[in-house]
């Protein structure tokens, strides 16, 4: 089969471009630690009982260690708990791991300006970690259509300097 030499060159350049893209993503993933949600424990939860049993019965911030907090957050029609009725307060420059699920329909979790982005699926637990670089107030938006008041589903994260982080509101283990 005859392939024109310009076309051979073009195909070669295309393959290089593809390799470069894959390389950039893998570099970000490994060296820059830009991860995405995946299967953390393989555990599922029962949407019918998640509000009354297990860690999501008491949503909120817990302390793992001095330099690591975790947030159990519910996304439900049409609130983030915590986050919507009062802001979720977190320390800056500290590792924070989110665990999210939903007792009703799918929701989205987007924090503009932070790169945080996850789908919240009933029955599954979305787990992802971040480190907020500075004290600042962020918005939370539900970006997965969840019903008639979807456009009203929002929340707030208040990131404070580590020294000002009040631990009295933490959920005890």
């Amino acid at each position: 089969m005859h392939v024109h030499r310009f076309e051979k060159l073009w195909i070669g350049l295309s393959l290089l471009l593809i390799a470069a893209f894959i390389g950039i993503v893998l570099f970000g993933f490994t060296v820059m630690n830009l991860k995405v949600p995946g299967v953390e424990t393989g555990e599922t939860v029962d949407p019918a009982t998640v509000l009354s049993e297990g860690p999501f019965a008491q949503p909120g911030v817990r302390k793992v260690s001095d330099n690591h907090y975790e947030v159990y957050m519910l996304a439900q029609q049409f609130l983030f708990r915590p986050g919507s009725t009062q802001p979720l307060t977190l320390p800056a420059e500290t590792k924070v791991t989110f665990h999210m699920t939903s007792p009703d329909v799918m929701h989205g979790f987007e924090v503009p300006g932070s790169g945080l982005n996850a789908t919240v699926i009933p029955g599954q637990i979305a787990t992802f970690s971040t480190r907020f670089p500075e004290a600042k107030t962020y918005g939370i938006i539900c970006h997965q259509y969840c019903g008639s008041a979807h456009h009203n589903m929002q929340g707030e994260i208040e990131v404070v300097p580590p020294s000002e982080f009040d631990e009295s509101n933490l959920i005890s283990q």
């Binding site: 089969m1 005859h2 392939v3 024109h4 310009f6 076309e7 073009w10 195909i11 295309s14 393959l15 471009l17 593809i18 893209f21 894959i22 950039i24 993503v25 970000g28 993933f29 830009l34 991860k35 995405v36 949600p37 995946g38 299967v39 953390e40 599922t44 939860v45 029962d46 949407p47 019918a48 009703d104 329909v105 799918m106 989205g108 987007e110 503009p112 300006g113 790169g115 945080l116 982005n117 996850a118 789908t119 919240v120 699926i121 009933p122 029955g123 599954q124 979305a126 787990t127 918005g139 938006i141 970006h143 997965q144 259509y145 019903g147 008639s148 008041a149 979807h150 456009h151 929002q154």
Partner: protein
């Protein structure tokens, strides 16, 4: 003497399919206008911010599923009939798949539009992805299933014609257009099986109340098993036009028939096993499979980049035949005054831009910046909303005289239409992309949130909103131009004398390619194997804890 004279039975079927496609296009396009004005808060008088989601569902279903499917079945019926030179084997069979698709569409559309009629008892504001546990009226799912099964029968009809042709021509190479039809439909059978299983096994029993709860992740995964390949189902018919007709419209011939075949093989193999790239932000899908999707998705760039090369070389060849010369000056010799050419060429340019924004979406962790933001509709309005839709509209200008025996009416309007569309889409799409970078979500009636200020990388939010609104209005005007031309030709076109319907053979024909390219069983076998590798384990894990478990309660929409 043209298509309608040689193949009157096929011409009637093609026309019926196109008419349904254009009715869906006009309603869906009007809904698009409503959304562009509503989202940007320019005008919110058409519907409430809740009714917006009924309109959004209608826009997605009528355009992405109905307009595309009917146009494609019409276009492909034309391609198979003319290249195999046979009328359909049984008119009854052909009309039965058409009627089945039409009945399905009517049921689904009734369920959606019912949501805008208070007291109708119908509603289906579940968007075109219909993620459970959002629940639509059963009519919605039953109609969708009929549409899909009808399209399977359409394919069966063409395979029937192909087998008859093959019996008469045992050693001939498959003509290129029929080859493309066959490969598109092999891919379609493979991928639409996922959504058919989702709808028939899970959602219909659940929407009828036979089972109460549903596991949201399993149907979502089955949807995306179908949901990425479906974009190639929209795109390959545009490639069909770009490869087989556009070179001729440019004044030349296709550069390479063998490379066109290889490109279609690539799409059969790679379209389906990459659906996870729509689930990069999902829990419950392992990183191993997300990585697999990343690599496969970027590899599928290759056939599109090859297409760019072949199509542009064919156009250059055409331009030089028309007297063009120079490194770039030849472009001026292209027929920029002919609507069918202009529409296809502008659609191709927009597709290149859409391809680049798609590379961002494909890039796993970079996608987290834009996942589910306005960037995504910005992207796919370039691909399906222009590469596909504008190509379909443009090639209609060339096909209508062949199908009706009438001259195209309002030629100046037809010429203005693709340029108008291009301008409208440039405004709307660039602004949607930039809003997405700022974090503005997609699929929301009021993306303005109290207390949340988007950090806009460049430009201002108000400027982008105006570009979306004005772009939407211009696109709607272009749609009206199109409908006037098509309607005028159908009802008031004067009889055509010399219909231009000849497609010259490729510069490098099928005789220059190995016969293995035409081995349907081999390529389908490899495609199935790749799908099994990609989906067996994750689906098994989701199914093993119970088909409907962990179960969520239905949320009727």
């Amino acid at each position: 003497m043209t298509f309608v004279n040689h193949y009157p039975k096929a011409a009637r079927i093609v026309k019926a399919n196109l008419i349904v496609a254009f009715v869906a296009l006009s309603i869906g396009g009007f809904f698009g206008l409503i959304q562009a004005l509503h989202r940007t808060d320019v005008f919110r008088g058409f519907v409430s911010s809740v009714g917006y989601y009924d309109v959004l569902t209608g826009h997605g279903v009528l355009l992405a599923l109905v307009f595309t499917t009917f146009f494609i079945t019409g276009l492909y019926q034309w391609g198979v009939t003319r290249t195999l030179e046979r009328e359909p084997e049984s008119s009854t069979f052909s009309w039965s798949w058409f009627v089945m698709m039409l009945v399905g569409t009517t049921m689904t559309a009734t369920a959606i539009l019912g949501g805008l009629v208070p007291g109708s008892g119908l509603s289906a504001a579940v968007l075109y992805t219909f993620y459970p546990p959002l629940q639509a009226h059963p009519l919605f799912y039953i109609g969708a299933a009929l549409l899909i099964v009808g399209s399977w029968l359409a394919g069966a009809d063409w395979f029937w014609t192909y087998r008859k042709w093959r019996a008469d021509n045992p050693d001939a190479r498959i003509p290129l257009q029929t080859y493309m039809v066959i490969f598109t439909w092999l891919m379609w059978y493979l991928c639409s099986l996922g959504v058919a299983l989702e709808v028939v096994v899970l959602l219909i029993p659940w929407s009828l109340g036979i089972v109460e709860k549903i596991d949201p992740l399993l149907p979502r995964t089955l949807f995306w098993y179908f949901g990425h390949a479906v974009v190639y189902f929209w795109l390959l018919p545009a490639y069909f036009v770009w490869y087989s007709i556009l070179p001729k419209l440019s004044g030349g011939r296709l550069f390479s028939d063998p490379l066109a075949r290889i490109v279609f093989i690539f799409f059969l193999l790679l379209s389906t096993p990459i659906g996870y790239h729509h689930q990069y932000a999902d829990p419950g899908i392992s990183l191993v499979y997300k990585m697999w999707a990343l690599i496969m998705t970027l590899v599928i760039l290759l056939p599109s980049l090859m297409t760019a090369f072949t199509v542009i070389s064919s156009m250059e060849h055409g331009a030089r035949q028309r007297g063009g010369s120079g490194y770039f000056a030849w472009m001026g010799a292209l027929p920029w005054g002919q609507p069918a050419f202009v529409g296809c060429a502008l659609a191709g340019i927009m597709f290149a831009a859409g391809g680049f924004s798609g590379m961002i979406n494909a890039s796993l962790n970079i996608d987290m910046l834009v996942h589910n933001t306005a960037w995504i509709p910005g992207h796919f309005h370039l691909t399906v909303g222009t590469a596909t839709a504008l190509t379909f509209m443009a090639i209609t200008y060339w096909l209508l005289p062949q199908l009706t025996g009438k001259e195209l009416k309002f030629k100046n309007l037809a010429l203005a239409q693709p340029y108008t569309w291009f301008i409208g889409m440039t405004l709307m799409s660039n602004a949607l992309h930039r809003q997405g970078l700022a974090g503005v979500p997609r699929r929301v009636s009021e993306p303005q949130y109290a207390g949340i200020d988007y950090e806009v990388p460049f430009g201002t939010m108000a400027e982008m909103d105006w570009q979306v609104a004005i772009g939407g209005i211009i696109l709607f005007v272009a749609l009206i131009f199109f409908l006037v031309v098509v309607g005028g030709t159908f009802w008031a076109g004067s009889p055509a004398t010399n219909v231009d319907d000849v497609i010259p053979p490729a510069l490098s024909g099928p005789e220059h390619s190995p016969k293995i390219l035409d081995n349907l069983k081999l390529w389908m076998g490899v495609a199935v194997a790749l799908v099994l590798i990609a989906y067996t384990l994750p689906l098994a894990e989701m199914v093993m804890d119970g088909l409907f478990s962990p179960g969520a309660f239905p949320a009727p929409m």
